[in-house]
Subunit: 220 residues, 4 copies
């Protein structure tokens, strides 16, 4: 697949950034997620020392023998950090990912104006390298109210590296993050499939005579 | 239908749980709900003494003679509790359900940080066994703020049993519950059908000359 | 069309009510709204002195000569009140409607825990009967916190009638109303059509060389 | 395309306004945005000195060589102001636009009851006229609580003009703005495409044996 090693350069005004190379890079990282056509629409924030890109990754589904469908893998909210290596230049090759689970997204969107939150991931948790790499994501309100500091620390005992990314978010940027994550949460849980898909065939189906709520709660 | 009696064993990290057997079990319980293909995407929380699974059940619709469609049975938010019977083992056979109505979901999502709520159901309410089984669901904030205790008590005078399930939820888990329930509420009410389905044919239809709001309010 | 004059009788547990006759009645009132197939899923609350049913009515659209589509008539949130005329009996013939506009829905969903709101409608405003009928809808918090009183007053100087409907809502019922109205608001405004419908053809269309945001803001 | 120079006259009751000419005008301004069929459903507020129309503009997408789809241009929330030039008459020719980015929408929807916000745009920023035109949008709470003042100032050093539009919004109108903008935000970001479109083909696809979250976070 496509290999991108050039550095990103972008205008000061992130809202006008087309971010082609950045998104193409994410595309590369995603291609082992699903073979299907995908849509790239990350929310990107470019700051002095690092850039942050946020994007939901929907769940995958599996068909059961019964014909029904089950979530195979929950969706996540993917955070991608890139260090700045000059004025408005970011090194895509040095990017680091942090994948928020539904519950971690819940923590983020329930943060009060003075609340902090920190998440710890071990990307090698179930492998022989468990404990060798530690990632922690920290979200802290700024002293002057309104904005937040979002920081990612990656300590890698194998490569003997210690990286840190700091992205200050304005109140508006954090509000986008919270609103967009609230919107995305039911989707990464797969609940949009549960509810939106009310098949035609259920309409007009004969009602069962004694189907009552008590049966539902007293199934056994 | 499939009968599952084996115990569930799952990893400490619930977010990675595929939960096949658990979901398959729910599937069994649901098959008398609708004959249609269904999608399983419960939100599951596994704790020391019990596990809790939450999943919306959409409404069913019926076709009227006029060709219009009416909600036949409101959707619900299904809570399923399973007791722990060992380290990270849960007994699916001992599960208990509690089906929240739209109004009960409204109570849940409007809970303030210090509010408690309790719901009482009699699963045999309209039968000769009325009053023999009492279920109560309690939601209480934890003393240290943030999280909540969710407890189900089932007193069965016929079987002379008295079961209790306690699942402490972190602030993040409860935020998922509230956000996902807020998302699901219009869907279990059937309002997503009301609004999303704006048929093509309404576009370009000739407007009625004097159709004014007063007519609407003064229909009789 | 169908004429319903019999009285409604329903069980104490509104959540189990199928409410066929009630909904069929609403259907009658609605048939001059649109000729298309409709879906009935009102949120109904049955109390001691009156019943309240709430249901969104989507906007209608019109095709312009350009081929584009325009909202012809905004949607509304339809409130229907019926007086109780006995224990759990409601008189559908004596129903009264109150149609909330988008802005009135905005007022409702922004009500703080101690806020009140009152809306005044003159259903004959633009006719020769202007001022003869006055409707006012009042929403007031209950003294003990949590719930609200929803009241409709209809003073008709032509018929020399003065009707009043009082429906106390629990905190949970009012939360359903607010959440469902928040969900429905963009739909009755027609914004779900604006955003959800991103036609395939826009994908892959050649981008215009210098299409920049300034052009958008500086169109004239 | 159509040229509209006549003045708008509309009834006192904005909720009944069909606003054909106003919307047709917006249509003109939009036709260089996309060649596709569009839907017009602006939220309009008509006040004594000016009118304000708010409408989301969805993003555009581009197909990549990989077959995937990428946001080409982010959507915006378009605010259009028109000065009043008599009782209930607004001059469409003197309209001014202000296009809110996703982050500016985030600021708007996170405004607390006593918060103000101001945005500055230079519509000629990247051209030789940079700095010649300055637009500022101000949102301030009214002293008596509840409502807000929305003001647009446009200083044009080339034309030597200085325009100012003031539109007071009631609490209900501002709640509509916030709720509708919260709804629209994920859509102008293109996230509704990311999540809603879960293609059939992903169902039943063979799961990859060792696809684990660590791979996701440790892609490089």
């Amino acid at each position: 697949m496509m290999k991108l090693s050039r550095l990103l350069q972008q205008s000061r005004d992130a809202s006008r950034l087309h971010a082609l190379t950045f998104q193409a890079g994410i595309s590369t990282a995603r291609q082992d997620l699903t073979a299907n056509e995908r849509i790239y629409a990350p929310y990107c924030v470019f700051k002095g020392k690092a850039a942050l890109s946020v994007e939901p990754v929907p769940p995958t589904f599996t068909k059961l023998n019964s014909g029904n469908v089950r979530v195979e893998r929950r969706g996540i909210m993917m955070l991608t950090f890139m260090p700045a290596i000059g004025e408005r230049k970011y090194d895509y090759e040095k990017r680091q990912h942090f994948a928020l689970s539904a519950t971690e997204v819940g923590s983020l969107i329930s943060l009060g104006p003075k609340d902090s939150s920190e998440f710890f991931h071990d990307p090698s948790m179930l492998s022989s390298n468990a404990g060798q790499v530690r990632k922690s994501l920290s979200i802290k309100p700024q002293a002057d109210g309104g904005g937040y500091f979002v920081s990612l620390s990656v300590v890698n005992n194998i490569l003997r590296t210690n990286e840190r990314f700091n992205v200050p978010l304005t109140a508006g940027e954090f509000a986008v993050l919270k609103t967009a994550c609230s919107f995305a949460l039911p989707h990464i849980m797969g609940w949009d499939r549960l509810t939106a898909k009310l098949p035609k065939e259920s309409v007009g189906s004969p009602s069962k005579a004694n189907r009552q709520e008590p049966d539902l709660e007293w199934a056994k």
